[in-house]
Symmetry: C2
Subunit: 175 residues, 2 copies
DNA sequence: ATGACGTATGTTATGTTATAACAATTGCTG
DNA sequence: CAGCAATTGTTATAACATAACATACGTCAT
């Protein structure tokens, strides 16, 4: 019944880590939706049906999801939703910090720490597509320092790191 | 007539720095084209007319340029080129490391250090659009360290930093 | 409750970015 | 010149995103 959820109490295993293959993903989705409800209520933002539905679809797995992929799953069997419906929901969720946009992929992924105001760093596996969010102070520090040296003030960093996750690297090695 | 151009001898003022308002940009273009010629010759890659022309257009200024913007300037007055022409040239230039793609903007910018194999970091001014390339070891190090801690191997980092350049920040301040 | 207002969603059309597929041309080499 | 690979031309379409206007829905003052 708590309205305020402390960051440490929710989804702690996913910050900067890739999810285990057999993890309880229903739990991930559940936590994400509860956090969203709580955050929106605090702020007086309206988490409507469409928006909740889109958030749920973004959280279908730990890979970034495209807007048109969401669109396909959004319709009520016979009635297909239109692009603006999805894009407006995504815009809302981005504004509330509930999801992030992955620029490299024109796709969206659920935020694992929506209570904090941040721009995350993303680890994107080129093999399995799994994507983890990092919140690394040292990366932020290095970026701000490097930019400062050029007289530049960073406001919105985009850090998207394509590579291989541990699981896929070991496959490459042994296979 | 030197075929090999040492990195230190060309465009040294632009690495990690924003260009001065009144700088000799024809020189920037000239250097970029000469480097491109030299690099392609070394590698046996063919810098054809179309490719050189596109590279020149990417270098028209120090802001990322979209493919369709290039397209507009590519035609020979009455004959408009088609998208694949531009995209194929961009693909070649990317493969040779002569340009970079800015994912946030779906746009392309000339590389200021094409002799080195690298993924740069980009400082993108939200006000004037000027974009500078950074090659900061400490950012790279922090990124690889942070990713390693999550068992992730970074192969292709995208670092695009939107903010305010020194000039625009001072305008904001004083204006 | 009723109307007025602001927010959210539906709907249609279009804009923007990128690629697939195949034909024609060019440059090189035997 | 013939043969071959690389490049460019051409047509069509895919993928991603937004503009503009209509309709519905929630909230509040009357
Ligand atoms: Zn999960
Ligand atoms: Zn996040
Ligand atoms: Zn210049
Ligand atoms: Zn570069």
């Amino acid at each position: 019944m708590s309205r305020k959820v402390s960051p440490a109490s929710v989804a702690p295993a996913l910050l900067g880590a890739f999810p285990e293959p057999g993890h309880d993903h229903a739990h991930c989705v559940d936590v994400a939706l509860k956090q969203a409800e709580s955050i929106c209520q605090e702020r007086g933002a309206r988490l409507t049906d469409v928006r909740r539905r889109v958030l749920e679809l973004v959280w279908r797995n730990h890979r970034p999801v495209g807007a048109y992929e969401i669109l396909e799953h959004l319709g009520n069997s016979r009635k297909r939703a239109q692009p603006p419906t999805v894009y407006r929901a995504l815009e809302f969720l981005l504004a509330q910090g509930l999801i992030h946009r992955i620029e490299r992929l024109n796709a969206y992924i659920g935020c694992t720490a929506p209570e904090r105001d941040h721009d995350g760093q993303f680890l994107i596996c080129r093999d399995c597509g799994a994507t983890a969010e990092l919140l690394d102070r040292r990366i932020d520090t290095a970026i701000h320092a490097g930019a400062s040296a050029a007289g530049f003030t960073v406001e919105h960093p985009t850090v998207e790191l394509e590579g291989l996750c541990a699981k896929c690297r070991s496959h490459d090695h042994h296979g």
